[in-house]
Structure formats: structure tokens, C-alpha cells
Subunit: 138 residues, 2 copies
């Protein structure tokens, strides 16, 4: 993902300090952060950055397909920089922890035509739920 900035420049992005910082934050940590977490980490590197800009930038990255938006049923959306390796998610029903997982099988192939209702199906998202070792251990 270190060439993310290159790809963005190639797509006509004007490169600003704010955008660079947001990209660095996403690059640096492989956890699934909320917009707010991204914002506070960004503020640590560039104190004047505003919430609006973080939201804008995340939105743009999602549109460009560089970052995935993950909404488990928790409140805030989370952002997943790992957009270029297809994967799914395993989330803890109690504490909300998220892990990337790679199941075998291809759920897209498991949806027969008769179950598509004329939709043009392009994507599938699988979310496993359960308890993480910490939460289950108690």
C-alpha cells in the first residue's frame, strides 16, 4: 500500500498534506478503524486537520476502491485498507473486534440464477459472528 500515493496521483488527485496524512494512518495500522479513530491519529501528525476532511478523504478512497467500508452492526462504519486482497470478516459479538479471514469456497457461485431476481450481482460480503477468545474465556 506504500504506492497508494502514487496511484492516487496517477488518478489526478491533488496531493495535500491532509490526504497524505490520512493515507499514512491507514497504511500504518492494519486494524479496522472508525472515521473518528482515523481522525484522532491524523490529528497527532497534523493538528489542524478537520473532521470534514477526514470524512471526505475516506469517502473518496472508498469510491476509488482503495479502501473498504465495513459496517458490522456496531454504530460507526470501519475502514479497511486491505482492499486489494479479497477477504471477509470475523467479528466478536461482544467487544466488536474484527479479523480478516479467507474462507474457502465461492459464495457468489452459490447463488443460483433463480435466486437473483434479475439483479446484476457483482459482490458478496461474508461476516462471521461469534466470540473472540477473550470474551468467550470469561
Amino acid at each position: 500500500m506504500s504506492d497508494l500515493l502514487e496511484r492516487l496521483r496517477g488518478r489526478g488527485w491533488r496531493m495535500t498534506a491532509q490526504r497524505r496524512v490520512v493515507a499514512e494512518v491507514l497504511d500504518g495500522e492494519h486494524v479496522h478503524m472508525t472515521a473518528d479513530e482515523v481522525h484522532s491519529r491524523a490529528v497527532a501528525k497534523l493538528p489542524e486537520i478537520s473532521r470534514a476532511t477526514v470524512y471526505n478523504t475516506l469517502g473518496e478512497l472508498v469510491t476509488l476502491g482503495e479502501v473498504l467500508e465495513v459496517s458490522t452492526d456496531k454504530r460507526a462504519k470501519r475502514y479497511d485498507p486491505n482492499a486489494h486482497r479479497p477477504h471477509h470478516h470475523l467479528v466478536c459479538a461482544r467487544c466488536g473486534a474484527i479479523r480478516d479471514v479467507h474462507p474457502t469456497g465461492n459464495p457468489l457461485a452459490d447463488l443460483p440464477d433463480t435466486e437473483r431476481f434479475g439483479f446484476t450481482v457483482s459482490d458478496v460480503e461474508v461476516t462471521y459472528r461469534g466470540l473472540c477468545p477473550e470474551c468467550a474465556g470469561a
Copy 2:
């Protein structure tokens, strides 16, 4: 689902006009409504019912497993009364329409132990995304 009220009574639910109305609303329409839509339909039958009660009741129904909470990536959670037939969802990326679908295959079995990270996995939720015929047709 017409025996929903019976089941709830059997579980010690105190039966009130408000709860009956919410149950009727969910029973009546098989679409996936937001809490707000449930509320306005409920108001049509029982004008004094409050938003708080609708939220409470929906929350209880979800805890009891009578109703499923569906959060596509849209803003508001949606409620799915069809909790007793396991199924997944197909959602239109443009207009947000939702259909219930029944894929073949068992995604739970597709998650190898090495990909479970010690979690106790109990559930899986599959969301297909694409365009509905109306939105694709344009």
C-alpha cells in the same frame, strides 16, 4: 408469524396495545423496514405510540430472536420479521432495495479452523450486492 403474540405471551411478555401493534406491523408487510418506518405504520394504527417504545419493542424482539436486525451499509438498521427461515440478503447498491435469498452451500463450513483465530463462531451473514433490474435498466 401469526402466533408470534402467543409465543411472546408464553415467554412472559406483558401484552400491551403498543406491542401488539408493532407485531402486527412486522407481520403485515414482508419488506425490510427501518425503525422509523415501523414507527409511522404503528402510528397509523395507534396514534399515541412513541418512538421510544417502538425502539424498545424492536430491540426486545431482536433479543428474543423473533426478528433479525439487518445492517446493510445504508444508514438505518432494518428489521426482518422472517427470522425463522435462515436466509441471506441481496441488496441494490443504488436504491437500497433488499430481497431475501437462499444460497446453496454452507459458508460456516467454509471457514477452516486455522482462520478462526480462537473465536467461537456461531453465525454467518452473507450479503450480496449488485443492481436491481430497475436501477440496472437505466
